[in-house]
Amino acid sequence: MHRLAFDLPNLDIHAQLAAQVSTGLGGIYESLIAQDEENPQVLIPSLAESWKFSQDGKILTFVLRKNVKFHDGSSFDGADAKASLDHALDPKVASPRAGSLTRPFIEKTELVDPYTLVVHLKSPNVAVLQALASRWVAILPVELIEDQAKREQNAIGTGPFILKSYQKNVSMEWVKNTQYWNPQLPYLDGVKFAVIRDESAAQAALASGTLMSGGGGDPENAKVLRAAARGRLVQKIVPGQYPPSILLNPDRPPFDNPKVRKAIFLAVNRQDVGARSRGNIYELGYLHAGIYGEYAIPLEELLKTPGYRQPKDQDILEAKALLKEAGFPTGFNLKVLVRNAAGLPEDSQVVVPQLEKIGVVGELEIVEATAGLARVQSHDYAMAIQGLSQLTTDPGLSMQGAFFTNAFAAWKSPPEIQSLLDQQFAATDPVKRRELLHQIQRYFLQGETGIIHLVWGSTIGLHWDYVKGPIDAGFQGNPYSRVWLDR
């Protein structure tokens, strides 16, 4: 039995946004290709047996798997795949994840024969495979694509598990798909999920053994739980994809002055945010080093960069000097817009007091999540604290989604930086791509964009030691197909 921290608004995976959704439907739906459960950077075949790029890199051809059945017994073929992709691409559907991941790259799809799907790209792009491997770009039967109500109430996929029961706000149960195309999988006969939004209730359930796995909340709590379980609770740190950031609006004074933006960039103590608000499990930098390895700027270089240096004394001095030059020798007061979502109020309670060191006194304006969304999107703020997540495992996609195309920041990318981004997408040579991505990151590290990335907050997954296999697969969800119990 596992924990779902949020319930799903409905079962339409193409309409979903929250990371938890990929967990709730992770074993039900499949995409054309998949990420390896142990290492998400490695792509493995799923509903497509193989794929290849054309010579010019603009056409991607998938050979689809035959003899695959949907859970309702109907057969899977290219029509389902095409309908699903077209649905995600349709701007009228406005699919928040499946669509936003694929729309920027894919021009159109074409069915050559029932088991050959051709995807035409807008420009040569190496990141599109990671986008298509995302759980959000799931393949649904045509009948579900055509019927929204049915799609919202049913989940009929091709995955290793079948949705057996779903009781809203209470529980979800999967059973083994005996007709699964890979006869060796899944190992488990079924998976049960409990919807527990309350962290302390989930911890209590984990400690008492009612739950086999779930989020352990704060590391300090996890420590106590593990001690009480005498080492039988296993902890895994799951890299987070949610980067809380400070957004400064360059169209509003005083942040129309780049010196003021830079002063804030310098004064923020990111390590302190990670320690106090994210339980000391976090990563720094505009690209997540824990996920993207060498594509990220190395930590040693980062720690020498102004704004990231410890101790903070030098940064604070420079920030005060910048404020003085900008005409604010004693600082200023302002309101800070914070949506009540995903740990943002917590981050803001650490970051805002930090700014008092340079005389910037912020008053928190905590707004309910959806009402706040509209304000952040219309840039109705001077300073806001907002997550810039883009749930993907491609470094270029991650940077693009978080910093270039997000609707929250008022910053516009200058042509030379935009061009760097376009170049790296077309770069088939990893060394060249790395160099281009480093240049983009260094640009942000100059601190004048007004997008001040704080930390990548990681989360803790806890499970009992008899649960084996890839259990805490993180933000990309988990099909649970290779999980087994040893007892």
Partner: protein, 315 residues
């Protein structure tokens, strides 16, 4: 008598109408755009926004909206949930029984504990026992349910490594698990409800004990216990019944908090969700249902009051 009942029933109607009006006006005042809430993170064009508003009937004058909505509510149609995208009535059907069961257990516990404590403290008046009971009962009123709830949860975990079940099962499907799930939160609410009941039982018992027929009963040589149980208690319970009806309002507020602590997917958690998700149709429905439950309970209390004690005549 029947005149009284009819009059009391007729009074129910304007109060219920008043609630509908108050709730309708309140919810229309909630800021935050419904269309933005429905769209989630996706952006909506102005043309689409107007289409959606027309579909929801939000472009019509408020009075028309109220009349239409009011007609629907009378037919038991609370509209479609913005968040869950299904009829609000379906959500109510799932959640109301869970909360009602919790409230019923809590009231039962509260009445049993309250009367027991009240009787003990009346019999042993001006002794240490009486004093302790009084201190406990004021504590019951003063200790917030979120404090007692968390304390109980903490102690159960610390002492017995026990945590409430995470799957809510209905009493029909699995009575054991259901009762285990409901018991702790019901105890927390019951404790709060027991306190005023105990105090009232004590004071009204003391009042009754002083009356003539009690002296007669004692003179007949009946033991003090029999006197109290057979004669005094029956007469002392009338105000207690009235009070218990009034307590339901407090309990329904408490339900919001204990459901959150003990993870019960009832109306309380539904209400909080509806507030945070800006799910107006659901929010209206929960508030209305809670108020109607309160009104109904009080109606029943008033009616039974008139039945139990025919001396009472209402002008």
């Amino acid at each position: 008598m029947s005149k009284y009942i009819i009059k009391r029933l007729l009074l129910f109607i304007p109060s219920a109408l008043g609630i509908l009006l108050v709730v309708f006006v309140l919810v229309r005042l909630v800021p935050g755009d419904v269309v933005a809430a429905m769209a989630g993170d996706a952006s909506v064009s102005e043309a689409d926004r107007q289409i959606i508003q027309r579909q929801l009937g939000l472009d019509r004058p408020l009075v028309v909206q109220f009349v239409v909505w009011f007609g629907n509510v009378l037919q038991g149609d609370f509209g479609q949930s913005i968040w869950e995208k299904r009829p609000v009535v379906d959500m109510l059907k799932e959640r109301i029984p869970r909360s009602l069961e919790l409230t019923a257990i809590a009231v039962t516990l509260g009445v049993v504990w309250g009367i027991t404590l009240g009787v003990i403290s009346a019999i042993r008046r001006r002794t240490l026992v009486d004093y302790v009971v009084r201190v406990i009962s004021i504590a019951g009123i003063s200790l917030p349910s979120f404090v007692t709830g968390i304390l109980l949860l903490y102690l159960m975990l610390k002492l017995f490594h026990w945590s409430p079940p995470v799957f809510y099962e209905t009493i029909w499907a699995n009575p054991g698990s259901n009762l285990v799930h409901q018991m702790l939160p019901a105890m927390v609410l019951g404790f709060a409800a027991a306190a005023p009941i105990a105090r009232l039982t004590r004071s009204s018992l003391l009042e009754v004990i002083g009356e003539d027929y009690m002296r007669t009963a004692r003179a007949k040589g009946l033991s003090e216990r029999v006197v109290i149980m057979r004669h005094a208690l029956k007469n002392a319970l009338l105000p207690v019944i009235t009070l218990s009806g009034g307590l339901v309002a407090g309990l329904l507020g408490g339900v919001v908090i204990v459901e959150a602590i003990f993870v019960i997917p009832g109306m309380g958690t539904g209400l909080i969700d509806a507030v945070t998700q800006r799910d107006y149709p659901a929010l209206q429905a929960y508030v209305i249902v809670m108020s109607l439950i309160y009104l109904t309970v009080n109606l029943l209390v008033d009616l039974s009051y008139g039945l139990i004690d025919p001396r009472i005549r209402y002008g």
